[in-house]
């Protein structure tokens, strides 16, 4: 065992390898921080570059991108209320209010430490428990996915900001939007109106950028016109001084940290479902276990700790089925899998017993990527906060252009930009009238998983509904969902009374 790690260590202790990992991480942080540019895209774009590299070097660089992007997404979420990546949607819920309260530096400092802890814990889990966890993930069939997504949908009730009914409406709008496109079971085109770009459904990225970034930009423009440049207060000295990693601060919120790392590591390995919802689920869990749940949403550091730690724990988690089974958890790891195959690395149980020990090199590369991520963020944090010193109107204009290029860069389809604008306007009104946009996103992400797997399950069980209730994992999740829903409704009633 120790020998394997020493062997792996010798693979990565090479200047070229370390440099590749560092470069990947730096690029990842930048990509993650720019709204619209995602890690999946960055990994795909770097893929050809790795063709000529040795295996551990190429894969290490791609892992660096994943790791950096996971952490970098927090920067614009906290500073501008614009999530840099889908996974950091939940970070803005408390990170931005913190920045508003003059705690931008502290929020970033907490986010960095939480990301690092999440990443390191998941790296250790990955190297020790990957094969058994991967076996467990295989037990997820259509019934289990359906139950998991129902469990996720229940969270709508608790992320709904003001009114439960309005939150539900927003969630249902998301579910409806998710039905656009070719129906995944029968192939019937639903609500596409002859538009080819809609055949594969509403792309998640334009919808997300629209709902979170564009809607916020519209609101910023209105605020700016009404309040003016008094927004551009010079960065007060406090924010720069407090902008450093906050170790003790983070660990003092150990409940949130534990729930973030736990949820991220458990949900991350479930292929296809976990990635985008892990941080929302852990936010919800942290709120439940917190002693001060009422402070969530108004700048509670616990919210940032939970989401950012689960964010990076989820990356290690999603590597588990990728490496142990060759089944990637989400888009970015799917592209990474392509990179592994091109390198001649075949994922599977055999990889863990491979005498060349490549897998241990990969584990260590991921660990090193996390350390580089900490360094990059540590060095960068003082400069990140300075974003707030950029004149508001320039920032607004520039961020808009990043949204455009990010959405266009992925598919090169101008339709996606119009989609983003449409969702931006919708998102603005949803926020303005108290519906919120987070429930819509949950519906949009989980809707297709729930619907397709329900109907797929019915196909497999030949029209029989009972397996959904009798299969153990599926039944557990459904029971948990009912339990959570009752709890939320009860808390809601009690707080009103």
């Amino acid at each position: 065992m120790i020998e394997n790690y020493l062997n792996g260590l010798s693979m990565i202790s090479d200047w070229g390898v370390l440099l590749a990992i560092a470069a990947g991480t730096l690029l990842g942080v930048v990509i993650g921080a720019l709204p619209g540019l995602t890690s999946a895209m960055a990994v795909a774009l770097l893929l050809p570059l790795t063709f000529g590299m040795p295996a551990v070097m190429g894969v290490g660089m791609l892992l660096g991108v994943l790791c950096g992007a996971g952490a970098g997404g927090a920067i614009p979420s906290i500073l501008l209320n614009i999530p840099g990546s889908p996974a950091s949607v939940a970070t803005s819920l408390d990170g931005f209010p913190m920045a508003r309260n003059g705690e931008a530096g502290r929020a970033l400092g907490i986010a960095i430490v939480a990301s690092f802890v999440g990443g390191i814990v998941s790296a250790i889990l990955l190297s020790m428990l990957a094969p058994p966890i991967a076996e467990f993930a295989l037990r997820f069939g259509p019934a289990e996915y359906f139950a998991l997504s129902v469990f996720g949908l229940v969270i709508i009730a608790s992320v709904a900001s003001q009114s439960m009914i309005k939150g539900l409406i927003a969630g249902l709008l998301g579910l409806f939007a998710a039905t656009v496109g070719m129906d995944p079971i029968t192939g019937v085109a639903r609500f596409t109106f002859g538009e080819l770009s809609l055949l594969t459904g509403i792309s998640l990225l334009p919808a997300l950028i629209g709902l979170f970034a564009v809607s916020q930009l519209i609101k910023d423009a209105i605020d700016y016109a009404n309040v003016g440049s008094r927004h551009d207060a010079p960065i007060d000295a406090l924010q720069i001084r407090t902008a450093r990693p906050r170790w003790r601060d983070t660990f003092s919120h150990w409940r949130a940290l534990l729930s973030g790392v736990g949820v991220g590591s458990v949900i991350g390995p479930v292929p296809g479902a976990g990635a985008s919802i892990a941080s929302l689920i852990s936010y919800d869990q942290a709120k439940r276990w917190s002693k001060t749940p009422e402070r969530f949403g108004s700048g509670n550091p616990e919210g940032v700790v939970a989401t950012e730690s689960s964010n990076n724990a989820m990356i290690g988690g999603s590597l588990i089925p990728t490496l142990a089974l060759g089944v990637p958890g989400e888009a970015a790891t799917a592209v990474l899998l392509g990179g592994l195959l091109i390198q001649g690395i075949t994922p599977g149980p055999a990889l863990f017993a491979d005498p060349s020990g490549t897998i241990y090199g990969i584990f260590l590369a991921y660990l090193v990527a996390n350390i580089f991520m900490l360094l990059v963020m540590w060095l960068g944090i003082r400069y990140f906060v300075r974003i707030l010193a950029v004149p508001r109107k320039l920032l607004l204009a520039t961020v808009t252009t990043f949204c455009f290029i990010g959405v266009y860069g992925v598919a090169g389809d101008i339709f996606d930009i119009w989609l983003m604008l449409g969702f931006g306007v919708l998102g603005y009104f949803l926020n303005r009238y108290g519906f919120g946009t987070a429930p819509l996103v949950l519906g949009l992400i989980l809707g297709p998983i729930a619907e397709a797997n329900l109907r797929r399950g019915l196909l497999i069980f030949e029209g029989d509904w009972s397996p959904f209730l009798t299969r153990p994992i599926s039944a557990t999740f459904l029971c948990l969902a009912i339990l959570l829903l009752t709890l939320t409704l009860w808390q809601n009633l009690r707080s009103r009374a």
Partner: protein, 314 residues
């Protein structure tokens, strides 16, 4: 339509006082449109070929991902472009499927197919824990009244049509279970949630080599060098053969001289050692085909896809 780019080039030449009458093709960058996002099969194929092809053509290839509608958006875009030889699309049998399923306005005749470069087989595979050691037992069980559940990636995809065709060839009536992608399908069969899958060789490669999944039959007419232990359908007495292909096509009306130049460059580029290593790792086979043989190949495949799609949508 006035070709602005050409005018500008002529103007530039006139300014430079250069009077070369016929410019050697290609004298500027070639646009390559990949109708899928970066990182997919078609994308990796062209990016692996890119360095060698750039060297042979002596120009830069600008690879553009124009994704959307499962390839429909990008291909529709290319079909409408002028045939000046400077735009090529990476195509696969997915193009024919889109036409067969009636999703798009173009037809295969809107393209000039320049080359078929890669092939991979469709494999009928089961989990390592499956009760079916071979194809015969599966067929027997199915004829005994059990409906075999076959997972495929995506409804209306090529794999979907192929799985239907394989069911017909075997004389059984399977339930086709569409999943969202290849990896979801593979994990469902590994976990025992479905009985079998029909997928391309590349998508099954890692599952096969880790021995979590066994292939019962390959759709190649003969056993392939990369999977010598997998018997063909034909060997097992089933009259069925097909394959996934990837290649390049141009909008209709490509000049013969341009086509000849492209084919020549492709023939040499595909001999590149680095390209061979990459495609070997990916589980695909080099199977180049050009000219009339290629046209015939495409027409036959299109015909079969149409028939299959008709049966399914009835």
């Amino acid at each position: 339509m006035i070709d602005v780019a050409r005018l500008r080039r002529l103007l530039l030449l006139a300014l430079l006082g250069c009077a070369s009458p016929a410019l050697a093709y290609p004298d500027r960058n070639l646009d390559i449109i990949v109708p899928f996002s970066a990182g997919g099969g078609n994308d990796v194929f062209i990016r692996a070929l890119q360095p060698a092809l750039e060297r042979e053509l002596g120009t830069h290839l600008v690879v553009r991902n124009l994704a959307g509608g499962g390839g429909a958006v990008g291909l529709t875009h290319v079909a409408r472009l002028p045939a000046d030889g400077y735009t090529l699309a990476v195509v696969s049998d997915g193009l024919l499927t889109q036409v067969a399923m009636g999703n798009v306005d173009f037809v295969p005749e809107d393209f000039d197919f320049v080359a078929k470069i890669l092939e991979e087989p469709y494999l009928l595979a089961v989990s390592r824990d499956s009760p079916y050691p071979d194809l015969a037992t599966m067929i027997e069980d199915a004829r005994g009244g059990k409906r075999i559940k076959i997972g495929v990636s995506g409804v209306g995809s090529s794999a979907y049509l192929t799985a239907g065709a394989i069911g017909d060839a075997l004389g059984i009536d399977p339930i086709l279970i569409p999943f969202d992608g290849g990896t979801e399908t593979v994990s469902a069969v590994m976990g025992g949630h479905i009985d079998a899958v029909v997928l391309g060789g590349a998508e099954l490669r890692s599952a096969l080599s880790s021995q979590r999944v066994r292939a019962l039959a390959t759709s190649y007419p003969e056993r392939s060098a990369s999977l010598p232990e997998v018997a063909t359908f034909i060997e097992q007495g089933i009259d069925y053969q097909t394959s996934v292909f990837r290649g390049l096509a141009a909008p209709k009306g490509l000049e013969d001289s341009h086509r000849a130049r492209l084919v020549e460059a492709l023939q040499r580029a595909t001999e590149d050692a680095g390209f061979h290593t990459t495609i070997g790792h990916l589980g695909t086979d080099l199977a180049p085909l050009y000219g009339e043989e290629l046209d015939e190949f495409v027409l036959t495949l299109a015909e079969r896809m149409n028939q299959q799609a008709e049966q399914l949508t009835q």
